[in-house]
């Protein structure tokens, strides 16, 4: 027999469990919808397998600039390779990414060596992880989704500790389903850099995405870096291209 004194405690307990269950189910639903949206965003940013030509410009506080041009091949959500085409002193310098493994090949050094995503092969604000960015959905899980009249914001959490940024806040252009702004945070919650997607351009074959990615960082005040896409073209690529053997021959794979 339940006593009158125990009844409110039991009711509170049952209500608490119910609330937790409902909120868990609701958050699962949010996560599923968010992750689905994130996959859509990935496909809008690039096809499954593609080649692209990009320019990166590092801008110093006094306005001086240094430019790099790179050719990139990407396949699936875990394979990517880039090689420099300019400036001349950097030609042939290539970076390969297979899941979380990254290697750098420098023509003079003549053999690939392992590097990490937090290093930067070009100096400046863009690090290897920005240049060798795989699909967001491959590395991150959506933990929160805000979709109202004011903003459309996804909060992403890294799936593993090997990902360069622990947490990401992604503002979405809900019409084109592409990011407009991304803030990258460390595990301690410190803002490392902000990426601004700009200049939506039709790259053909249904690829409509920002052609320009600008970044700044509170850690490098006054410095800026810009990544400009000249083309993104869907392409059939053999898996063997993403091996150490091919690293000195990537520029030969341009069509």
């Amino acid at each position: 027999m339940l006593t009158n004194k125990k009844l409110p405690i039991r009711i509170i307990f049952v209500m608490l469990i119910l609330t937790l269950n409902i909120s868990f189910l609701f958050s699962q639903e949010v996560n599923e919808a968010g992750n689905k949206l994130l996959k859509e965003i990935d496909r809008n940013l690039s096809p499954e397998a593609f080649e692209s030509l990009r320019k990166i410009i590092n801008i110093e506080p006094n306005g001086t600039e240094k430019e790099f041009v790179m050719f990139t091949l990407k396949k699936g959500n875990n394979k990517m390779v880039t090689t420099f085409l300019a400036p001349k002193s950097e030609i042939g310098r290539s970076t390969l990414r297979l899941d979380e493994n990254m290697w750098l090949y420098i023509p003079n050094v003549g053999k690939p060596m392992r590097i990490t995503s937090l290093q930067s092969v070009i100096g400046g604000i863009f690090n290897n992880s920005d240049i060798m960015q795989l699909d967001y959905s491959a590395e991150y899980e959506v933990t929160e989704m805000i979709d109202d009249n004011k903003e459309n914001l996804l909060t992403l959490q890294a799936k593993t500790a090997t990902v360069a940024y622990d947490k990401i806040k992604m503002w979405i252009d809900s019409k084109h389903k592409i990011p407009t702004k991304i803030e990258c945070y460390t595990a301690s919650g410190m803002l490392i850099k902000t990426l601004h997607y700009k200049d939506i351009k039709d790259f053909g074959n249904g690829i409509m995405r920002p052609a320009v990615l600008e970044t700044d960082s509170p850690l490098h005040k006054g410095y800026k870096a810009i990544m400009i896409y000249a083309n993104i073209t869907a392409r059939k690529i053999d898996d063997e291209v993403f091996t150490l053997n091919y690293m000195d021959k990537i520029k030969d794979l341009r069509k």
Binding site: L53, K55, I57, N58, E60, T64, E65, K66, E67, V69, F71, A86, P87, K88, S89, I91, L98, D99, E100, N101, I106, P107, N108, V109, G110, K111, M113, R114, T116, S117, L118, Q119, S120, G123, G124, A161, T162, K198, D199, A211, H220, Y223, I226, I228, A230, N231, D238, D239, E240, V241, F242, T243, L244, N245, Y246, K249, K251, D252, R254, K255
Partner: protein, 470 residues
């Protein structure tokens, strides 16, 4: 960054666009000057002024920087070339108290300093013909030193034909530089490569003549991909002279595996039909910013020679075990640390090194008939980068300190564990300017009497380098 107007000009007018742009900009400047002059305006001048303002807005929009770039400049061409011009100046102070200094200057005037100047040009080019690609890399270097000695050296670094028979199979024939191994400072598994210069670890090295065949296969699962490389190297008077003791053919096999995010290589080397050496290496990131690596080589019948306490040369033939293990760590401060321990089994033992230096003493003081033999021994055996058996290497690299973009300082220590002598060095690298690299390097040697670095001819050295790519 090129403006859209400049890109159109480039496209339609070609090389003349630079001239047109120059004249156009001058015209804009003149208009701006006129705009200032028009401040005391008549009615006619006001309308003229409005026109000029509108024109300036229009021109400004034409000349405004945008984010487009001309990717046609980067399309694949059948031929490609890169040139490299390098100037280097080495200023060294000599250690007059060292044994090797006494040996080198035994019949010469004493010198406190030794300066060297180098100018070199390196040209790399390639040409595609159907599925074949011809590559060539040549270097010519002119050097001049304190003793007014001038020398010109010409080298073919690489010259080979490359072809892809299929996506999996690659075939190369000619002179090629092949570097193997995971170690930073030393690579005992680099069976077909020349040894690194510990003062310039990343320098390009001259290749060997060979026939090379690669098979690569990508898989899904625990074994992510693997490759098989076979190399045939002839050794005779015309090809690869000095690579091995005797003329003949060398056969080398390398198997690479990427297994569960770990790079693993196996190496096998046959001299004609004689199995000469075997090795393996591995590298892996145990944490995203923490890499570990190792190399091991077993070699049969290695001949070693040394001077004994009776100032006589002794020799032995043994199997050797060379190994290296190391790590590379990236800290949150963006500092990279490289640490390696290496064991060179064929190197001198501490006593053998002491006996050699004592032999120099004897040759210079009481028994000068030994001098030619000692000098010849030194020339033949002291060219190796690691003379003794056990070394520890430590390097710290700090890119872009104090937000100075493209500036990379680094310091290193090479410590001889056997005799406790050391080499300490530092490097400042600045690559702010397009295609121009500027470097300052400093090395300092220290050690007791009869130690490796304590008895080197050089006491310390500073180098200035300018590297321009065109």
């Amino acid at each position: 960054m090129k403006g859209r107007f400049e890109l159109y000009l480039n496209k339609f007018v070609g090389k003349q666009s630079e001239v047109i742009l120059f004249k156009f900009r001058n015209w804009v400047r003149k208009i701006k000057i006129k705009q200032i002059l028009l401040k005391s305006s008549s009615p006619f001048q006001i309308s003229n002024f409005k026109f000029l303002i509108l024109s300036l807005f229009f021109l400004n929009s034409l000349l405004a920087q945008d984010y487009s770039f001309d990717f046609e400049d980067f399309e694949k061409k059948p031929y490609e070339y890169v040139g490299n011009f390098q100037l280097q100046s080495d200023l060294a102070s000599l250690n007059k108290l060292s044994k090797l200094y006494s040996l080198s200057f035994s019949n010469k005037d004493e010198q406190g300093y030794f300066d060297s100047y180098f100018a070199s040009i390196q040209l790399k080019g390639s040409y595609d013909i159907s599925k074949f690609k011809l590559l060539i890399d040549i270097k010519d270097q002119l050097s001049y030193n304190t003793n007014d000695e001038v020398e010109n050296t010409f080298n073919i670094f690489e010259s080979y034909l490359n072809t892809y028979i299929s996506k999996n199979i690659n075939f190369q024939i000619g002179k090629k530089s092949v570097k193997w191994g995971k170690g930073y400072i030393w690579n005992p598994v680099s069976f077909i490569g020349r040894q690194k210069d510990i003062n310039d670890v990343d320098a390009a090295l001259e290749g060997f003549w060979m026939l090379k065949f690669d098979y690569v296969k990508s898989l899904s699962g625990v074994l992510q991909n693997f490759s098989i490389t076979t190399v045939v190297m002839p050794v005779n008077r015309d090809f690869n002279e000095g690579f091995s003791e005797e003329d003949g053919f060398n056969y080398i096999l390398n198997n690479y595996f990427l297994i569960k995010d770990t790079d693993i290589d196996f190496y096998f080397f046959w001299e004609d039909t004689f199995f000469k050496k075997f090795g393996f290496d591995f590298a892996r990131n145990i944490l995203p910013s923490w890499e570990i690596h190792a190399e091991y080589v077993f070699e049969k019948n290695v001949i070693r020679s040394w001077w004994n306490s009776q100032t006589e040369i002794e020799s032995s033939t043994n199997n050797t075990h060379n190994y290296l293990f190391g790590t590379r760590i990236l800290f949150e401060t963006n500092t990279t640390l490289i640490a390696e321990y290496l064991h060179n089994d064929a190197g001198f033992e501490t006593e053998q090194m002491i006996y050699f230096f004592k032999t120099i003493d004897v040759a210079l003081s009481s028994d000068q008939s030994l001098l030619p033999e000692v000098k010849e021994y030194q020339l033949e055996n002291f060219n190796n980068q690691f003379l003794m058996q056990d070394y520890f290497y430590l390097k710290l690299i700090q890119p872009e300190p104090f937000n100075i973009l493209y500036f990379t300082p680094s310091i290193y220590l090479l410590y001889n564990i056997n005799d406790e002598s050391k080499m300490i060095g530092g490097e400042f690298n600045y690559s702010r300017f397009n295609n121009l690299d500027l470097k300052i390097k400093y090395t300092f040697l220290s050690g007791n009497a009869n130690s490796e670095f304590g008895e080197k001819t050089t006491f310390n050295k500073i180098s200035f380098l300018m590297d321009y790519t065109f």
